[in-house]
Structure formats: C-alpha cells, structure tokens
Symmetry: C2
Subunit: 201 residues, 2 copies
C-alpha cells in the first residue's frame, strides 16, 4: 500500500524508531538487520531509506531514544520521593530485579550497549550518543548521593553505579542459572541495606 498520508508516514517513522530502540537493546547493536526492524514495525525494508540515512543513523537515534526514556523514568521515580536516599533505593530495586534482567528491550541502555561500545571506534557517533546518555544517567544517579564530602560522594556514585551495571550484566549473562538470581539479590541487598556502609546518611 504505497503513498500513505504525511501524518501516517511520520507515525510509521515513530513506530520504526520505537521498534529499533527495543530490538537493539534486546539483541545488540549488531544483532538486528534493517529487514528485522522494518518487519517489527509492520513494514517492508524498501521504505527504510526514505526515513533514515543509514542503518547506523537509526542505531544512533534509537540508542539516543533509549537513553532519553531511561532518564525520564529515573526522574519520574526520583520526583515521587522526598528523601534522596529513598529515591536512590527506588531506582536500584527495579534496576536489579528479575524483570529488568529478563526485559533488556525496556531496560538500561548502558548495560545493553556497553559491550558493543568496547568495540566501537573512538570518534563514532554511536560512542558520543552513548557517552552523553551515560553522563546524563550517571549525573542523575550521583545527585542522590550527598553527604557534603564531594570527593567521597563522587566515589560512592561511581562504585554504586559500576556495581549496578556489573550485576545486571552478569545476571543477564548467567540467566537460567541459580547464580543469576544470587547476583541480583546480593547487589540489591548490599546497595539498599539500612546498615550498608555504602548508604549515604
């Protein structure tokens, strides 16, 4: 069915990006083809280049979208809590849940793309998008750790965030094995325990 309305075409583009933002997170930046993305959007591949300059351009836009969605979700959750430490826990609990592990398509783009970024060229646009998104998420997380000791807070934020990324990555890699749940559980209770020496005042 050729020549849909301009409004429909814009909507189609949106559907493609939404499908891509999910699929790239699920299968990696190299694990999905243009045909796959277009099929997931209910279209054939030929129309792709009417919407995007290249596969790479879509990957960049879709990964950027994933970061925006994550940042928005984090900010919503933070806004729902008065206390910063309560808000921090409200981020960590779902982040390190089985649901998060089992639904990479709707979860953290940092974990989804970090592996691919290791092999990405230095000046690549994908890398820039990743760095911008990571910095935004990390700053948001860091703003929840404030004890007055700036250097200490920064280190705490770096350590806690690295642990979250490492635990979710390992939980996904070991999915199906008992170790996977153990890792999530250990990291979660460590980061949210009242008595945790990591927990800010």
């Amino acid at each position: 069915m050729p020549r849909v309305s301009r409004k429909q075409a814009d909507l189609n583009r949106e559907v493609i990006v939404e499908a891509a933002t999910r699929l790239f997170r699920e299968r990696g930046l190299h694990g999905i083809s243009v045909v796959d993305v277009m099929a997931a959007a209910g279209l054939t591949h030929g129309g792709f280049y009417g919407h995007f300059e290249s596969r790479e351009a879509l990957a960049q836009e879709a990964s950027g979208r994933a970061f925006e969605q994550s940042a928005a979700r984090w900010k919503e959750r933070i806004a729902a809590h008065d206390d910063k430490d309560t808000a921090r826990r409200a981020l960590i609990e779902p982040y390190l849940s089985a649901a998060s592990r089992d639904n990479p398509g709707e979860s953290c783009p940092v974990v989804a793309f970090a592996g691919d970024m290791c092999h990405e060229a230095a000046g690549s646009g994908l890398r820039e998008t990743f760095m911008d998104g990571l910095n935004a998420l990390f700053d948001t997380f860091g703003s929840l750790i404030e004890t007055g000791d700036n250097d200490g807070d920064r280190q705490q934020a770096l350590v806690q965030y690295s642990l979250m990324v490492g635990a979710l990555t390992l939980a996904r890699a070991t999915r199906g094995d008992a170790l996977s749940d153990e890792i999530l559980q250990a990291a979660r209770s460590f980061l949210t325990a009242d008595s945790s020496p990591l927990a800010p005042v």
Copy 2:
C-alpha cells in the same frame, strides 16, 4: 605451501587457537571472521576446516582457552601471597588497571564475553563454556574472602566480583574519556582500601 609436517600442523592449530583467543576477546564473539583469524595466524582460510568443525567450534575452544589462561594467572598470583586478603588485592589491582582496560585481548574473558552471552541461546555450547569458566574464576575469587560468616562471605564475593566486572566494562566503554580512569580508580581504591568496610578481616 601445502602439506607441512604433522608436527607443524599441530603447531599451526595451536597458533590459530592462540590468535582466536586474543581476537575474540578484542572484538567480540561476532566481530571476527574465519578469514581474519587465519590471517592473524599467518595462514589462508581454506585450511580452517581441516582443524575445526566450524567457526562456532573454534569460538568455544578459544573462549575456553581464555578462561583457562585467566584461571591459571589468578592461581599463580594467589600462590605468590601468604595472606588471603593480600592475594585478593593482588588480583584486583591489575584487574582494574589501565593496562587491563586497554588490552582486552589478554584480559578477563568474563568482561570480554558477558555482552555476547546476553544474546546467546540458552543451551548453547558457548554459554556452557562461559558458565564453567565464570564459576571457576568466581570460586577462586570467593576463596579469598573468608571471615567465617559463610553467607556474608558469599555476598561479599558476589558484590566485589560484580563491581570488578562492571567497572572494567564501563571503563572500556568510556575509554578516551576522563570518566574511564575515574571509574577504575574509584573501584580500585574502594575494593582495596584498608578502611574499606568491604575488606575481609
């Protein structure tokens, strides 16, 4: 130069596996072709199937080799220290170094392959090799944390190992940015600080 000696053929196979164990870690399990591996071994691609049943079979053997090398290196380092906590630090320091970040081909296979494992099928041979290798490395690491509180030790080991994997992964993904060094530094000093609440007795 066809028909080399049997001894030379065995040596060639060894060179292929060694090249693969480095290249797969550097560029990921899907980032390298049979032609690339054979060229790195100084051979042409045609002879590949005289040595291996398939590309996948080589990936499995090469990743298994990477795990063996890591386990052997860890055990050497541990054997060089009397004190378990000193040994633990002797593992962590080089693990979270710039050298480790910049030479993935000779570094931790868990970090190198975790991203790919997330997209690997459940019963896959690659996944089994990964799980076996991860369990071996993790048990070795866990043996260095002994306070008598078994549950607590297990959680400590899981948390510390997840942090190591997350920090190295993020450091690689952000390589070239100041954040990369910051992450390594923060995780390293956190895990090795004398006053660290994480450090076993």
